[in-house]
């Protein structure tokens, strides 16, 4: 029953976010003194305008829906869960294949769409057209950062009947290579880079100028200080601390709770 209710709400949101600007544009186009071939020829422009219109509607809706606060909430009936579900339904509209690649192919459109949903993203961030930012209102991406092909940034997860919401912060000049996953509560400091296929689980904190190799798994609550270098295919279990300037050799496995001292090689 609850699923049907949320599906109905999602459909209404789809009609509002997509239908309203579409209707407005139809009125505009029928009033323009343009031949039919010109209307068709300008179709990509209308799609661009349509996405801008959708973003304006999303902006208004996101102002009306209560702001998300990081925390743990009983799922799905807590007011924060309802807010999250509504915001999630809106952001999913922008991931529909009709326009998602278009959105991420234009810096201005990408910035506007993400900002309209509450994301704090820099104008000059670079992304591939297939990256995915879920929960935009919990995401910060500072200037000069790059999110490559297939990158996924998520601000929520559901566990044991609780919805967990936490911000994800990506600093200045950060490079996330292909298919990197960032879970809720992850923070990456300025100038750091994360290699292809690496997964950072909830609440991982990465300092400044850190290099993380490809194919690593960094589990919950790991703390990585500035200037650390982590080799390829490293597995770091939960609650590990790596102090400044330490080096983790390729293929290493760090058991839960390990502390790697400053400047050492593990």
């Amino acid at each position: 029953m609850l699923v049907l209710l949320f599906d109905t709400i999602a459909l209404i949101l789809l009609l509002v976010v997509v239908g309203l600007p579409l209707a407005a544009m139809a009125m505009l186009l029928t009033s323009l003194p343009l031949p039919i071939w010109a209307l068709w020829g300008l179709a990509p422009l209308w799609l661009f305008v349509q996405v801008c219109g959708m973003s304006v509607i999303a902006l208004v809706l996101n102002l009306l829906i209560p702001r998300l606060r990081p925390g743990r909430y009983p799922y799905p009936l807590h007011p924060q869960c309802v807010s999250w579900l509504l915001r999630f339904a809106i952001q999913r509209i922008f991931h529909l294949p009709v326009w998602s690649n278009l959105i991420y192919s234009f810096a201005s459109l990408r910035w506007f769409v993400l900002r309209s949903q509450g994301a704090r993203v820099a104008w000059n961030m670079q992304t591939a057209s297939t990256m995915m930012v879920l929960d935009p209102s919990l995401i910060t991406v500072q200037r000069d950062s790059m999110l490559a092909l297939g990158t996924i940034v998520i601000g929520h997860y559901v566990e044991n009947g609780l919805l967990i919401l936490a911000p994800v912060e990506i600093g200045r000049g950060v490079q996330l290579m292909g298919e990197v996953s960032l879970m809720p509560g992850v923070r990456i400091g300025d100038g750091s880079s994360v290699g292809p296929g690496t997964k950072l689980l909830p609440d991982v904190q990465v300092g400044e100028d850190v290099f993380v190799g490809m194919g690593c798994l960094i589990q919950s609550g790991v703390r990585i200080a500035d200037n650390v270098v982590i080799g390829h295919r490293v597995v770091i279990e939960a609650s590990v601390t790596i102090e400044e300037g330490a080096v983790i050799r390729p293929g290493a496995q760090l058991p839960k709770g390990t502390v790697v001292a400053k400047g050492t090689r593990y």
Binding site: G173, Q175, G191, S193, D209, F211, G213, N227, V228, V229, G231, H232, E244, G245, V247, P250, G263
Partner: protein, 81 residues
């Protein structure tokens, strides 16, 4: 600190990173092509330079010119800036 002294320091660090004997480095030695350093080794070298000389050295800056002499000069210039 001179360029020559910094290049010698880099040679010692490269030996530590690659776990081999210190290479002979001249100003024209290319770190990737001549010494075979990969992205991981370069990241480690950059981390050592940042920590020892307290400078900003982003990954992109390391990829633009990897001749030892120019890198040493770049580090010293940035330290004195």
């Amino acid at each position: 600190m001179t360029v020559e002294a910094l290049m010698q320091q880099m040679a010692d660090w490269i030996a530590e990173i690659t776990e081999t004997e210190p290479p002979v480095i001249t100003a024209e030695t290319e770190l990737v092509q001549d010494l075979g350093l990969d992205s991981l080794a370069l990241a480690e070298l950059a981390a050592k330079l940042r920590m020892r000389y307290r400078i900003k050295l982003r990954p992109g800056e390391l990829q633009s010119d990897l001749r030892a002499g120019r890198l040493a000069q770049f580090v010293l210039d940035r330290q004195n800036a």
